[in-house]
Amino acid sequence: MNTGDLYNLTKSPPIKSTQELRKISTAYFKDLEASSNDPNQKIAWCSSVGPAELLLALGFKVYYPENHTAMLGTSRLANKYIPAAIAQGYSPEICSYLTSDIGAFLHKETPFTKAYGLKEVPKPDVLAFNTNQCRDIQDWFNWYSKKLNIPIIGINSPSFVDDVKENHIHSVVTQLKDMIPVLEKISDQSFEKKKLNHIVNLSFQCSEKWQEVLETAKVAPSPITFWDSCIHMLPAVVLRGSQIAIDYYKMLKEELIERIENNEAAVPNEEFRIYWEGMPIWGKIRSLSEHLCDSQTSVVASTYCSSWIFTDLGSSTNEPFTNMAKAYTKLFINRSESSKEDYLIDKFKTFNIDGVIFHNARTCPNNSNTNYGMPKRLENRQNIPSIVIDADLNDLNVYSEEQTKTKIDAFVEQLAGV
């Protein structure tokens, strides 16, 4: 199976900072491996928009299964593993992150071995989830909890939220605080608010810098594409709460500003600017990136990569629980249809978008905004043309390369007035 170079998946001119990204990612995974072998160092598995800061504040090393399963997708190994999870009773229609990750575990294989030299995924001491993305994350972690006999805790977030109100925040804050005694016992460390405040602040700075990186794409031609961002978002996911992530995004932003000054485009001769709504199709990043690049079409922004912008982490001083609760409840995926529409229209304007590609991910209805009429409503509101691609985040069995590329080509021809 070809796993290729997971850091170089686009046709755009190489981003030099990628070297640093490789370095800090490798260090992160090596540290997790060392921690996994150290009985005194505790490891928490955490959902990617979960309570990471609280876990870090209590001394845990934090591992994110969603990062692992995105690698299974990118390396096109997912379809090797999904059947093993289906055989365990999980439907092929549910989250293919869940099925490919559990399948890989059952196969006793991981792409970390080839990418970072890890023998296996780091062993957890606790599993911490947040249902702000979906219920599947809880089911996913529950499987490991039973299989490995590891405690599981989490936050059941209010979902489909229109305006985030005080009662929503109060609920999440309470649940966050309820986690503390359990985590203190596992980590054998006492909770210190000052420490949590510091880590939330680092996460906030990371979020700010990541936003600045993404917003360099406001310039035409854009110095960065969605495809690049799918790779460079790694520190925002796994290293937020650390200075390393902040420094990395400072470096990346400087490089992108230099590109803008030199009129160096991510897509040479950029003609059209596209917004990507929905999950990436991880196993097709290279293919789609090349295809669109050849059509002088730059996918300049996405909801997905912007989902790690947590402006509210810095909303109040010395209120880390409230800030976390706000940031993680205001998440796009967790919101009402009308909130999502307003968010998207703002993004279309910010990035001067010509058209939208909606990804209807077969196994991720929660992060597919195509099933309740949104593309048509947005077209009517904004007169921005769009297409819907039927595919999946990891399960390539439901992806039709020819049909997808015909749709994209016809869409670009439409934008060009052919």
């Binding site: 043309p385 297409i387 439901v398 992806y399 039709s400 020819e402 015909t406 021809e413 439409q414 007035g417």
Partner: protein
């Protein structure tokens, strides 16, 4: 015809390759339809040669536009060419037959169905079926295969239906099983086949809303005009049928070829 200048549109579909040759006045000078098979380039070249008028050789063809599922083939005989999607080619052909009209093209192909919106002669939008054979020509092909009926007989049989049956299954494979099972229980074969065509129309109308005049194109329409009758019944309006629905996209490609620089 030795001195003629021709422009070729080659629509390489999943089932058939269609060629239309036009002259400088956009008049059709030749056409051909053949199986696409496995070697798409070879099918395109053979079909192109077969479409040539008598006493004309390939040197008369000055420009080519390929379209359809297999459009990205290499050049034929080093003739200048481009590839353009079947969606744009459909719209191009519609501009010739129905200039400046606001209308909807429904193109039912072998593996996918497209609904293309035109406003005042300009393409404004398009939708395609989801990755599923329901509502495409494959649905009827699979059914014919299962019933051991020649594909060409399906329209004749359906037109004999007096009490159309409704097929409940969405899935092509399950629908074929359902049809067989119900025939075994006494349903008339012609009523079930009519039901299958009805099912295609329903699947197509799920793709998008239609508020304008409708042009029907594609091979399935060409060989099964009963579909146009069903559309008329469901939508309550007459359908526009171009002279050769199966060659419609290839004609659009030929029109693009004539404009290639």
């Amino acid at each position: 015809m030795l001195d003629s200048i021709l422009y070729a549109g080659i629509d390489i579909g999943s089932s058939y390759t269609k060629v239309v040759l036009i002259d400088q006045n956009n008049d059709i000078q030749g056409s051909n339809i053949d199986f696409s098979g496995i070697k798409l380039h070879s099918a395109a070249e053979t079909s192109l040669k077969a479409a040539l008028p008598k006493n004309t050789n390939l040197t008369a063809v000055k420009k080519i536009v390929t379209t359809g599922f297999g459009r990205k083939i290499p050049a034929i005989n080093q003739i200048p060419f481009a590839n353009i999607t079947e969606i744009s080619c459909s719209a191009k052909a519609a501009q010739l037959f129905y200039p400046n009209k606001t209308l909807t093209i429904i193109d039912i192909g072998g593996q996918d169905t497209k609904i293309i919106s035109m406003r005042n002669g300009k393409r404004t939008n398009f939708k395609m079926n989801r990755k599923c054979a329901a509502g495409t020509g494959t649905f009827i092909e699979e059914l014919a295969l299962k019933l051991r009926i020649d594909l060409g007989e399906m329209n004749t049989l359906a037109s004999k239906s007096t009490n159309p049956e409704k097929i409940s299954s969405y899935c092509t494979v399950f629908a074929a099983s359902e049809v067989l099972s119900r025939i075994r229980k006494g349903a008339k074969i012609e009523d079930m086949i009519y039901g299958a065509f009805y099912s295609i129309v329903n699947r197509v109308l799920e793709i998008d809303t239609i508020n304008t005049d409708v042009v029907l194109t594609g091979g399935l329409i060409a060989y099964n005009p009963i579909i146009a009758d069903i559309f008329k019944e469901v939508l309550g309006k007459s359908m526009l049928l171009p002279p050769s629905p199966q060659l419609f996209v290839a004609l659009g490609a030929a029109l693009y070829a004539s404009q290639l620089k």
